[in-house]
Homo-oligomer: 279 residues x 2
């Protein structure tokens, strides 16, 4: 396993971690100031800044872009909504390409409004990614399917295990891979085997870290800083690296009542310290 | 699939549904008053009432006991704690037998204090159930492993899929089965197959219903009434019955800010109406 004890180059800041405090430009400056090697913007921050200007700022700061968050949200109640989602996903591919992102993260979407048909939603996800793939391949932009924790199955992502994501990749072919976020998959008894399977197919496009707090006060906005929860992050990183992953470790923490209330430079300093000691 | 449209005999009330309002004695009287056929007490309510007295009240009311909640909580940090957990589980088996319960529900437990070793916790669960089995078999009390939603993996149950529960049953042999609670398993892409597997081994000991609300405000205490959420309950009940289950449908709703604040007779009336129409 790679030694992170003196590293900051393999650390990447997902802008969600300080989304309440900083613009994208401030995030870029913050990464540069702290020697953090990568950044992963969310599209709302990117839109504020403008993709072209963001691309220049990121390049000038010497940062890698470990992913753009996010495309996806494929299932919809009507054909018109599905077409609109596809159009938006093509735009996301273009934005990702414009900033030189290593992949476009896909949060695939949950149940359409009023639906209880999760199997149908999963078919819509498969069809939606399939429809996006030509555009993504033409832009040479890998699509990273991120399985989300089952507690988000209804409203955010009906792909809830790495096995499902691997099965989708098998069905869809080149140009699509997976993102492994420890928060979403740490509980999965099949995780080690499915990480190995993903690695054997050379499809691990991202590795995201945070921690599961006990208790967890909010389903969405109470993620923990690495080391503050119960996830054995080094064990999972070991599996991911044994499977051939040599990319960055991206910190993505949604934390309304804790990290989003802190001085962002302190948040970044803590990310670095935890990256070196507990990831 | 059985017709519930005129039924109340196959409805069972888990006392958690009105735990804030009623004692066990009041729950028994309430079930009898509404013609509800079964009851599933929690042990704290049973202890208040006394098992012997509860057994008489339940028998006099003509109720079946679809389960006792709960045994389990096997993983522990020290051998002394593990022994204490085993002693308490033997007592739970005795209580379940005293009230004529159809099974003892096992919520198996999560990570021991300070541990990040979920694989180790899962081994402790297997060993704990194995250690309990002789006592349970002697009492002719089936143990029902209930997989809990992955959001409870850390602090309540590290058995999070029906596949895991089935694997445990395969390993442990006679005297152990599963409880299928739609709230915990509705998201699982392998659910249909694992329900069929459980049925083929004649090990489905219970079927629990409630609903997944969107949004869900609290990880533990914001379950919905059947029909108010996104779970396709009839589809899952169909799978369970196709697999040979002919037991009751047990309503278990933890709902701090809604159903626990309502007039309990209204809660029971709503359970009946939903049992007849959307389960």
């Amino acid at each position: 396993m790679r030694d992170f004890s003196g590293d900051t180059a393999l650390l990447s800041l997902n802008t969600a971690t300080v989304q309440a405090q900083w613009t994208l430009e401030q995030c870029i400056e913050g990464c540069a100031r702290h020697g953090i090697g990568g950044i992963a913007p969310w599209r709302d921050k990117l839109a504020e800044c403008g993709a072209k200007r963001a691309a220049r700022l990121i390049r000038d700061a010497g940062l890698r872009v470990t992913g753009l968050c996010r495309g996806g949200m494929f299932p919809a109640a009507t054909p018109a909504e599905r077409r609109a989602a596809l159009d938006d996903n093509r735009k996301a591919v273009d934005d990702a390409a414009a900033i030189g992102a290593e992949c476009l993260i896909l949060v695939v979407g949950g149940l359409p409004e009023g639906s209880k048909d999760i199997a149908g939603a999963r078919m819509q996800v498969r069809d939606g990614i399939a429809a996006l793939l030509d555009h993504a391949r033409a832009a040479a932009m890998p699509l990273a399917i991120e399985p989300l924790h089952p507690m988000y199955a209804a409203d955010r992502a009906c792909v809830n295990t790495l096995k499902q994501a691997n099965d989708l990749c098998d069905a869809l072919g080149d140009g699509v891979g997976v993102a492994v976020d420890v928060y979403h998959v740490w509980w999965d008894p099949d995780l080690e085997a499915e990480v190995a399977r993903a690695g054997a197919a050379d499809r691990i496009l991202g590795f995201h870290v945070s921690d599961w707090l006990v208790p967890t006060a909010d389903l969405l906005l109470d993620r923990g800083m690495m080391g503050d929860g119960v996830i054995d992050i080094p064990k999972i990183r070991g599996w991911v690296e044994d499977a051939g992953y040599d990319g960055a470790s991206e910190v993505e923490i949604f934390s309304k009542d804790n990290w989003w209330r802190r001085e962002p430079d302190d948040v970044l300093a803590t990310c670095i310290e935890r990256h070196r000691t507990v990831v």
